[in-house]
Subunit: 252 residues, 2 copies
DNA sequence: TAGTGGTCTAGACCACGTC
DNA sequence: ACGTGGTCTAGACCACTAC
């Protein structure tokens, strides 16, 4: 027994063995792994130790656990988000919805959309948009789903003085989206900056994106500026990192 | 007591309380949080329950724990990696080391560098470089450190037929780096593609980057192609997500 | 030495999913 | 009904850090 002193096997060792087995291909994506009870028997450890080993793999994003069912090897079949080509002038001038070009045959849809035509801007948003603190902004919230699973949350902020009274404050801003409407107003966005960060989700994000434990989120802050360099929109996106490959093409 | 039935407080509730307190600013970055013993006393729970609450916050990247010391609120002071401007033709034509322009006054250095002048390419590398499976490649491994902490691992793969016998197989390839040497060979890279993914680190990555638990890594696969569209380099980078903001600027 | 976090055991009960 | 994972208690010992 391991009652006193060093235990024969530790949770980390059990996890390492399973990790190696997955890496070797002994378990393919979707395959079932030994569960808590199986590890207790095979390694002679207490339940909490077996749990900890499995929790470690889950935290690494290697496995998913389904309560009452078992532990399974996780796959990774992402969608490509092309960060630059999709923003070439053509898409919104031609009236093509930007997101329709993404999913490569898979069904990426807007699940829900809410519009707020004028709220006080949070401080960081106001600063990014070069507005006075507390200035009013128009806010558009969307959630995108792929094959029924939410994969991205997006919130756009536009200066209220710019967006109010235009179709931008409508749930459906018309062909070409809000960028086409900004162009109608003579404020077509021509320069973009995307700042990416990755971290573990807040519980709210994890719930809204139905994330498996061990899945990070990528936050993209996209600032769109008009020809004079004035910011016209901030789009703050939160992506399920397990669902996306984010691609940028550019020339020297 | 909670011996039978529903406990008065759960680990998730304790975690939620601390999370909210951090969000409110009751605890600033660097501040010490109540530890295991404090939570056991204040909430009347067992050690494992207090531990689980603290482990949850750690997994979210909100806290760092230092053994024998305590639990502390984590900060976020990243460096900006500019993914496009840094690759404009000027830097390597003028002989400026690419990475010197990154850290905005902070000390970003190459910690270690190893070069392998000819090994068989892994299948995925060979495919990306449009080589026959198992074809030889030149491999350059670097680790970058910022203020003494490693923040990025980078491995470049170049076709051996291209790199062999050139300064590319030297640890120091000379002014302008390997891109300048590729230009010398008439194979200057002019088109780039960066594919980004984020996930939790493997134990090896966590060790090499000295990552705190709860920190994801961002993997960037950068493919450089010459004027004829032939791939000349694949640079696979692994970034500490807590150390970087990754920025792309581009025009419509 | 005292306090901190890290790990493990042993046993109990709960909640979910399948059969 | 049964097996699965999810949660908690209670107590023990270890390892690291500061004083």
């Amino acid at each position: 027994m391991s009652r006193d002193g060093v235990p024969e096997v530790t949770a980390a060792e059990i996890a390492a063995g399973l990790r190696a087995a997955i890496a070797r291909g002994d378990y393919a994506p979707g395959d079932r792994l030994p569960g808590e009870n199986a590890l207790m028997d095979s390694h002679g450890v207490a339940r909490m130790t077996a749990r900890k080993a499995l929790a470690q793999l889950q935290a690494e994003g290697l496995t998913v656990t389904r309560r009452g069912v078992g532990v399974f090897v996780r796959g990774f079949t992402p969608v490509i988000r092309n960060g630059i080509a999709r923003l070439a002038s053509r898409p919104w001038e031609a009236g093509t919805p930007i997101w329709e070009r993404e999913a490569r045959g898979r069904a990426l849809d807007v699940d829900s959309i809410t519009v707020d035509a004028g709220t006080g801007a949070p401080d960081d948003i106001a600063r990014i948009l070069a507005l006075a603190p507390g200035a009013k902004v128009c806010r558009r919230d969307r959630r995108y789903v792929l094959d029924g699973k939410p994969v991205m949350l997006a919130t756009s902020y536009l200066p209220a003085e710019l967006a109010c009274g235009s179709p931008i404050t409508e749930p459906d801003p018309g062909p070409g989206g809000i960028y086409a409407r900004l162009a109608d107003l003579g404020r077509a966005p021509v320069h973009f900056r995307e700042d990416l960060t990755a971290r573990m989700p807040t519980p709210e994000q994890a719930g809204a994106l139905q994330l498996e434990p061990g899945t990070p989120v990528v936050t993209i802050d996209r600032i769109a500026a008009d020809a004079n360099g004035h910011p016209v929109e901030l789009n703050r996106m939160t992506l399920d990192a397990a669902a996306y490959v984010i691609r940028y093409d550019f020339d020297a």
